[in-house]
C-alpha cells in the first residue's frame, strides 16, 4: 500500500509550517539566543500550581462536564464581565476548551460548510488558515499594512466580502504584529458587519497584554454580541500555556453546536488544568489581578527596550500596543524574511521568526518576541546590530 497516498487531500494541501525549518536548525545549534517564542517566560504563579497539586492529592482525576466545570464557567463569566464588560450566562453561553486553539477549531467547524469563505487579517497567527482549510471552507486573507499600524481597515475588509463570506476571524491584540484595535477601529468594522450575516470569531487571547491602552472586545459594541464568538484562554494572561485551558463565549446556539463537536472529540479539558484555572481567577478577583498587572509592567519595559534597541540599530518598526511581539521591517536589507532569518541564525545565532510565516503581508518583516529577560533582549539586539553592519 502507498501509505502516503492515503493522506486526505485537505491535509496534503496545507503547506508545512514555515517555522518548522528554523526550529530544526536552531534546536541543533549551541548558544542560540532566541526571540522566537510565542509564550510567556513567566512560570505559572505558585498558588495556581499548588491548587493543582492539591486537587491531585485529593484524587480529582475524573472527567468534567462537557461544557467545563460549573465553577470555572461561573468564574469565567464573572471575569469577562469585570475585565471587559461582557455578559455571558455560564450555563449555556460558555464552553471550556483545550486551549484557545481548540475553541478556534470548534468555532470554525460549528459554522462552516464547504465552499464558505472566512476572512482573516494578514499577517495573523499561523493556525487560522489551516483550520479553515481542514473544514473544506476557503480562507481569504485581508491585507493589513504597516502604515495602518497593522489594524484591520474597513475598506479592505469590505473589498473581500462576498455572498459566500461566513465568518471573520478578528485576532487582536495581534500575533505577530502586536497591533490592537481601538473602540473606534472596531466600531468601523462593526458598521460593515452589521449589514451582513457574518459571524465574528474574536480571538482575544492577548486581551490582558496591552500597553497604555485597555482592550475592547467587539462583542461589547451594540448589536455585535449575538454574531460574535469570543475566544480567550489562560495561556497568555496567567502564564499557563502548557496547561491548555481556553474557552469560547457566545450565543447559546453557537456554543451548543461547538459543544456537540467538543463532546465527541475531546470530551472535556483536563480536570487538573480546569482546577488550576479556577484558582487563577479566584486569586485574580481577590487581589485585583495583581500578578497579571505585574507581568504587563514587565512586558511593557521590555517592549520599550526592544523598540528602542531596534531603532538604534536602524531597524524600522512601529510601536506595538499589545501582545509581546515587535514586528520590524527588514525590507532595506533586500532579503526575504526567510533569507534574513536563516542568515541571522547561522551568522549570529539569533532565532527570530520570518514574518511571511504569518501570511503574505508579513513578507519583509520579522517577528521578535520580548517574552525574555532584558539582558537576553539586549544581547539579541546587539547581535542583530552586528549582522546588519555586515550586510548593509
Amino acid at each position: 500500500m502507498n501509505v502516503e497516498s492515503m493522506i486526505a487531500e485537505r491535509v496534503k494541501e496545507v503547506p508545512p509550517s514555515g517555522i518548522r525549518k528554523f526550529f530544526d536548525i536552531a534546536s541543533e545549534m549551541e548558544g542560540v539566543i532566541s526571540l522566537g517564542v510565542g509564550e510567556p517566560d513567566f512560570i505559572t504563579p505558585w498558588n495556581v500550581r499548588e491548587a493543582c497539586i492539591y486537587s491531585l492529592e485529593k484524587g480529582m482525576t475524573c472527567y468534567t462536564s462537557n461544557w467545563g466545570m460549573p465553577e470555572l464557567r461561573k468564574a469565567i463569566s464573572c471575569y469577562l464581565s469585570r475585565r471587559f464588560g461582557l455578559e455571558y450566562n455560564p450555563k449555556n453561553e460558555i464552553v471550556v476548551t483545550v486551549g484557545a486553539s481548540e475553541a478556534i477549531d470548534l468555532a470554525l467547524r460549528a459554522i462552516l460548510n464547504p465552499e464558505d469563505e472566512v476572512l482573516i487579517p494578514d499577517p495573523s497567527y499561523v493556525a487560522y488558515m489551516p483550520c479553515v482549510h481542514f473544514t473544506g471552507a476557503k480562507a481569504i486573507p485581508v491585507e493589513c499594512r504597516p502604515e495602518d499600524e497593522f489594524r484591520l481597515i474597513p475598506e479592505k475588509l469590505e473589498e473581500k466580502i462576498t455572498s459566500k463570506t461566513k465568518a471573520l476571524i478578528l485576532p487582536y491584540p495581534n500575533n505577530p504584529t502586536g497591533a490592537v484595535m481601538t473602540r473606534e477601529d472596531l466600531e468601523a468594522i462593526a458598521q460593515v458587519l452589521r449589514r451582513t450575516d457574518i459571524i465574528v470569531i474574536s480571538d482575544e487571547i492577548y486581551a490582558e497584554l496591552t500597553y497604555g491602552y485597555k482592550h475592547v472586545s467587539i462583542a461589547s459594541l451594540p448589536d455585535m454580541k449575538e454574531r460574535t464568538i469570543v475566544i480567550n484562554g489562560f495561556s497568555k494572561a496567567f502564564a499557563m500555556t502548557g496547561w491548555r485551558v481556553g474557552y469560547a463565549a457566545g450565543h447559546p446556539a453557537l456554543i451548543s453546536a461547538m459543544v456537540k463537536i467538543h463532546q465527541y472529540t475531546t470530551l472535556c479539558a483536563p480536570i487538573m488544568a480546569q482546577v488550576a484555572a479556577v484558582e487563577a481567577l479566584r486569586k485574580g478577583f481577590e487581589d485585583g489581578f495583581a500578578s497579571v498587572e505585574y507581568m504587563v509592567r514587565q512586558y511593557n519595559m521590555r517592549r520599550k527596550v526592544m523598540v528602542n534597541g531596534f531603532r538604534e540599530i536602524g531597524l524600522e518598526c512601529y510601536e506595538p500596543k499589545g501582545a509581546f511581539y515587535v514586528f520590524p521591517s527588514i525590507k532595506k536589507t533586500g532579503m526575504t524574511s526567510e533569507e534574513f532569518c536563516e542568515k541571522l541564525l547561522r551568522d549570529q545565532k539569533v532565532a527570530v521568526v520570518p514574518g511571511n510565516a504569518f501570511g503574505a503581508s508579513g513578507e519583509g518583516f520579522i517577528r521578535c518576541s520580548y517574552a525574555y529577560s532584558i539582558d537576553n533582549i539586549n544581547e539579541a539586539i546587539k547581535r542583530i546590530g552586528n549582522f546588519l553592519k555586515k550586510i548593509l
Binding site: 517555522i19 526550529f23 534546536s27 532566541s34 509564550e39 499561523v126 519595559m301 532565532a351 521568526v353
Partner: protein
C-alpha cells in the same frame, strides 16, 4: 514612576539611568534626578549584592538570636536595639511580636566565635533578660532570591 524605578533597581541595582529611562519611556535626566532624590531621602539605603557565600571558601556561620529585653522608659526598645546593632558582628535587628522582642542576626567565622559574642557581649547588656541562639544550617532563599535555583527555560526555541 518612583515605584517603577525602585522595582527595577530592586531587581537589579546595576541598571543604569540610561537603561531605566528606556524601560520607562522617559528621559535620562528625570531618572537621575529621581534616583538622587531617593538616595538623599534614604529610600534607597544602599546598593547591595546577594552572594552565595557557601560557594566560596570563606568560613562563616550565621545565627538567629532571639533576645528578650526590658524596654526602657521614654525610649522603648530603640535604645537597646541601638546598643545591639552597633556591633559589627550584628547583621540585622528586627523588633518582633510574639515570644521574644528582638531578632538579631549575627555572623561570625565559627560557631564558637558567635557563641562567645552572645555570652560576652549580648547577654551581659543590662536590659537583656535572655537569649536563645539558633545557627543557620543552610540558606535556601535570601531577599526573595532562591540561591541554588538553576532556572531552566523549558520553552521550545521557536513557538508560533
Amino acid at each position: 514612576m518612583v515605584n517603577e524605578i525602585l522595582e527595577i533597581l530592586n531587581e537589579d541595582s546595576r541598571r543604569t539611568p540610561e537603561e531605566i529611562a528606556v524601560m520607562l519611556g522617559t528621559d535620562v535626566e528625570t531618572v537621575k534626578q529621581k534616583i538622587e532624590e531617593l538616595e538623599r531621602n534614604k529610600v534607597i539605603v544602599k546598593y547591595n549584592t546577594i552572594i552565595n557565600w557557601d560557594k566560596t571558601d570563606r568560613e562563616y556561620v550565621t545565627a538567629l538570636i532571639e533576645v528578650k529585653v526590658t524596654p526602657q522608659r521614654d525610649q522603648g526598645f530603640d535604645a537597646i536595639a541601638e546598643r545591639i546593632y552597633k556591633f559589627p558582628e550584628v547583621k540585622s535587628v528586627y523588633l518582633m511580636s510574639g515570644d521574644y522582642d528582638l531578632a538579631v542576626m549575627v555572623e561570625g567565622r565559627t560557631m564558637k566565635e558567635v557563641a562567645f559574642f552572645v555570652a560576652e557581649k549580648l547577654s551581659v547588656l543590662d536590659s537583656v533578660l535572655s537569649t536563645a541562639t539558633h545557627f543557620v544550617l543552610k540558606k535556601y532563599k535570601v531577599e526573595g532570591v532562591v540561591l541554588e535555583d538553576e532556572e531552566k527555560d523549558y520553552r521550545q526555541v521557536i513557538v508560533p
